[in-house]
Symmetry: C2
Subunit: 231 residues, 2 copies
């Protein structure tokens, strides 16, 4: 972890409209003065379950996972966030502590705004609040959707679902380097690491996908989609 100094101004940030489009010039200056950019290496924990929330964060670069810690069983991954996502939006209003842990899957850069400043701006800007309601709702809906979609499927269907998820939602490409380990896939779709590997090998043998280490190429998208729907 490393705080980046002398970094970009919010005014010219690519994500400005995504998040702070409804702020006045003054509000934006205030946010800019109270934000930090922080770099995390692959594997580093960004925040831990039950820790106090001190910042509103969004992802500028990289890939992070939200997950529930579980000592007895295994961790459960709730969602994968891509650049532009608000990674601390969950539970920021319902709790003063994190309900979930966050860790970097790839080297990532987080933009973190002091939570009190954030709340202050929120109290004074109606449009900003409405924006946030909508965004939060969308994030939550996506999580619920994904979770319910996964839990009703069998193993083959789950793997198909998650492969297509990375292709369509994260990388927008039918070929990509899997950002997560086999174990993390298992934690994401509730199955064992062994069965993740087995199912991937099966798909590989059946020429549905082509595996080369971390690299996945979806050779037969139609069949994969069919398995996703039926499995």
């Amino acid at each position: 972890m490393e705080v980046l100094h002398g970094v970009s101004n919010c005014k010219s940030c690519v994500y400005r409209d995504l998040m702070f489009g409804s702020l006045t010039a003054d509000e934006l200056i205030l946010i800019n003065r109270n934000k930090k950019e922080i770099k995390f290496n692959r594997g580093e924990v960004i925040s831990k379950q039950n820790k106090e929330i001190k910042e509103f964060m969004y992802l500028k670069k990289g890939l992070v996972k939200l997950y529930r810690n579980d000592v007895v069983h295994r961790d459960q991954i709730i969602s994968i966030s891509i650049p532009g996502d608000f990674i601390s939006l969950l539970s920021i209003f319902s709790n003063s502590y994190y309900k979930y842990s966050i860790a970097a899957i790839e080297e990532s850069i987080i933009c973190a705004v002091d939570i009190d400043v954030f709340r202050q701006v929120l109290r004074n800007n109606q449009a900003f609040g409405m924006d946030l309601l909508e965004k939060m709702s969308t994030i939550y809906d996506d999580i619920i959707d994904t979770k319910f979609n996964i839990s009703r499927r069998h193993l083959r269907g789950r793997i198909a679902y998650i492969l297509l998820y990375f292709a369509d939602h994260v990388y927008k490409n039918h070929q990509y380097d899997l950002p997560v380990s086999r174990r993390e896939i298992a934690e994401l779709i509730e199955m064992t690491t062994e069965n993740v590997i087995r199912t991937l090998s099966e798909f590989n043998k059946d020429n549905i996908i082509k595996i080369d280490g971390k690299n996945i190429k979806i050779s037969d998208p139609e069949r994969l989609k069919k398995i996703c729907q039926l499995g």
Copy 2:
């Protein structure tokens, strides 16, 4: 379904503070003028997935379920709402159509406020917006929590979890009439109807619970809690 006329004024509603505590007198009058109270019988569908959202609704009396329709497999119950819950809060901001269906489990009375009026009040009252952010966040967090708690458990653990859920969260009593059918329990915790029945019978035989038709009495809460934690 039956619209109730000449019903109570919002001003003296038991749920006023729960929902509309931050409204001005004028706003409350506006809401009052544009609300309906509607009674639904057991089993009646209150709103259907993909239908346009025209009202903001909360539950005054009874018990309802939120669920995802699924033609191929079975329906999936997302949550059970008790009086005071905002049953259409989900997706009201992220979508203009319902993402989930809603149906009455018991005879229920819904209070429905015209969605445009609701949004209008929301735009003009900052405190109301903040309230809503917090409430919505809590509802979503609960759903995610429940869902993840269930999906990591085995059948016995799931049944134990749901029995305790009804006891602690819905009825606040160790004895209660199960409001849902065995099949609905199955849809709620992702298992088959047969296995719900089998597991309940097992618990009955082991003197952990006492079943009499729909009536459940938790005779050995400690053991049930242990099963819930370990299963």
